[in-house]
Subunit: 341 residues, 2 copies
DNA sequence: ATGAGGGCGGCAAACGTTATCACCGCTCAC
DNA sequence: GTGAGCGGTGATAACGTTTGCCGCCCTCAT
């Protein structure tokens, strides 16, 4: 039951510790015969390498920290899943940290992870501005990749969905299905997702109808705000409600139904992110799906880069193309509610 | 920028490495004057202890593995959040592993975590039977606490909600609001949550109405099954549909509405777990809330115990009391749909 | 005065690996 | 025939801590 170490295997296979290490780690070529003997001995003794010792010596823990604002935000679990799988495939373990949507605990968690000597950090910043300092200092110590949301220019590498393209998909779809009077429920603040989606809507809607690009209401990314915004926007009778994410859309949908509006007959509703809830809403929500697996793969790839790599200008910002998922909530204006599905 | 170690601090403060270690770790009493000097030096140099070296020497990484079936299951994120917080409060980092609902990858992840020398394992087993072996061997190596679901008797300590009590709360509530012809949509299989909730329903319903304890349909814990089960059960016109979890209930609700049933006027629907979706459903779902924070705290507490602690008989199985959350989906039979809220 | 005891502090040995260096024996080319 | 080159191997020094043990000095009781 005692822990079997390299020394034991060396003893049992009649060669030196160094050789055993080389065989097992494959660091350097080693004689075929010796290799076989060593492997047999290791197997027989049930040797399991000690990652801690390895980490101490090689100065690399094979561990990456994953820091996110709130795991309970329904958009994150799917992303976390993809990240976990991508990283595990690269033999890296994931140290999870939940920030409670608070920049202060975020900084604390980052430090805790750094103290644990993570090889790299994957981070979804809580706030564009208030996360910046902690992120910047962390980025100076380990490779760091920003996910989903940005954090100011040149702070670190980042990978996210192309919000502008996504919003364009939505507007094109609405235009193609005959909607002419859209409005937008978005989120205030400078967070990249909020700002980009908002700007993209305004640009796209203006192109759609130069005369009246539709009203815009700004709150936060929540169901409650979706409900409240509908109360504000519905009186002007838009024929499409474009929402900055699925939570807002879920709230909007709920309130519209309570108000007796016919979705999608009278008004279409669209979301963004394609969280699991989107397919379950009634009517099912048309939305923009993020390429989660690709985002994760790209993030994992970026992580391989060196820590203080070059000047800030050298930061990369990867943007991946989203996909439109058309569901019942945006069926043609003539359609009656519930007709789809 | 080079890493500052105990040696540097020792040099700067004019005492030995051992003393510095003792001051910083508080292992043994040390002179007040010396302590101050050391602390000042450490502060000045920006010393940050190396957890890896510490782990190697002290044979404890301060890390626990969290293994779960599928982070995308909407019940888990809230639980993960509580666990992360509870563990962080105890200065332990969380290594996350997602099993894709597959016992084989589950075993692989457990081994990977063990190789990383986690101090303990927190595990939500994928399957009552097929997870058993991997769990048992893991439990022999480190303290292991089973969460939410059991895994056979005496395999490891476990902490979960009291499913029987929860189901009783639901049935009492339904009886009190005049429902007399309940039915149950549950999950097949031996998983503890499925089996316990099913058994509890049967016992409770039989007590409610000895003549006809209501029909039971068994599938899995999914929205799709909820929809399908309603098709099977609705023809017999129950006045309450008791679901084994919220996903099933969401599906049932959706299908019932499609069929034109009046919820809750004609038929009440209840769920279990109180996932975020429950409050968003329409009508909002009456359900049983799990005491997540308490579950997490209890799990963290149990983790402190020793590894191969005593005979299997000594395993503890903590059960915590749930809470009934009454929402619109089970308002009195006389109520019209949408009247609540 | 002297021995016992206790509070502090230092030395050095682990912990289990990987990395550096040297060495050995062989082949090949000159 | 000898030196260079090279694949394979072994000693051994790190990596940064914690910790057991010893020794110092000061105090107090005898």
């Amino acid at each position: 039951m005692a822990e079997v170490t390299l020394k034991d295997v060396a003893l049992a296979s009649g060669c030196s510790i160094a050789t055993v290490s080389r065989v097992l780690a494959g660091t350097r070529p080693v004689g075929a015969e010796t290799a076989r003997t060593v492997r047999a001995a290791a197997e027989a003794l049930g040797y399991r390498p000690n990652h801690v010792a390895r980490a101490l010596r090689s100065r690399s823990t094979g561990t990456v920290g994953l820091v996110l604002p709130q795991i309970t935000n329904p958009f994150f679990p799917s992303l976390v899943r993809e990240l976990e799988h991508a990283l595990h495939a690269a033999d890296r373990a994931v140290l999870l940290a939940d920030c409670d949507d608070d920049p202060v605990t975020e900084a604390a968690r980052i430090n805790a992870l750094l103290a644990r000597r993570v090889d790299a950090l994957l981070l979804i910043p809580v706030d564009e501005r208030r996360s910046r300092e902690a992120v910047a200092t962390a980025a100076a110590r380990v490779p760091l990749v920003l996910l989903d949301r940005g954090c100011g220019p040149g702070v670190a590498d980042s990978v996210a969905v192309d919000n502008v393209a996504g919003m364009a998909l939505v507007l094109d779809h609405l235009a193609a299905t005959g909607r002419r009077r859209p409005c937008f429920i978005g989120a205030a603040g400078t967070a990249s997702a909020a700002a980009e989606r908002r700007a993209a809507y305004e640009a796209g809607a203006a192109a759609l109808d130069p005369g009246a690009p539709g009203r815009v209401a700004l709150g936060d990314f929540s169901v409650e705000w979706g409900r409240a915004a509908v109360d504000r926007l519905w009186p002007s009778r838009p024929d499409a409600v474009v929402c900055a994410n699925d939570l807002i859309a879920a709230g909007a949908l709920q309130r519209l139904r309570q108000l007796g509006a016919d979705v999608p007959g009278e008004v279409a509703v669209t979301g963004f992110d394609d969280i699991p809830l989107a397919g379950l809403a009634d009517p099912a929500l048309t939305t923009v799906r993020q390429p989660l697996a690709e985002l994760a793969a790209e993030a994992a790839r970026l992580l391989a880069r060196s820590p203080a790599a070059g000047p800030p200008a050298a930061r990369r910002a990867v943007r991946l193309a989203p996909e439109l998922v058309v569901r019942a909530s945006s069926a043609g204006p003539g359609a009656r509610a519930g007709e789809a599905s």
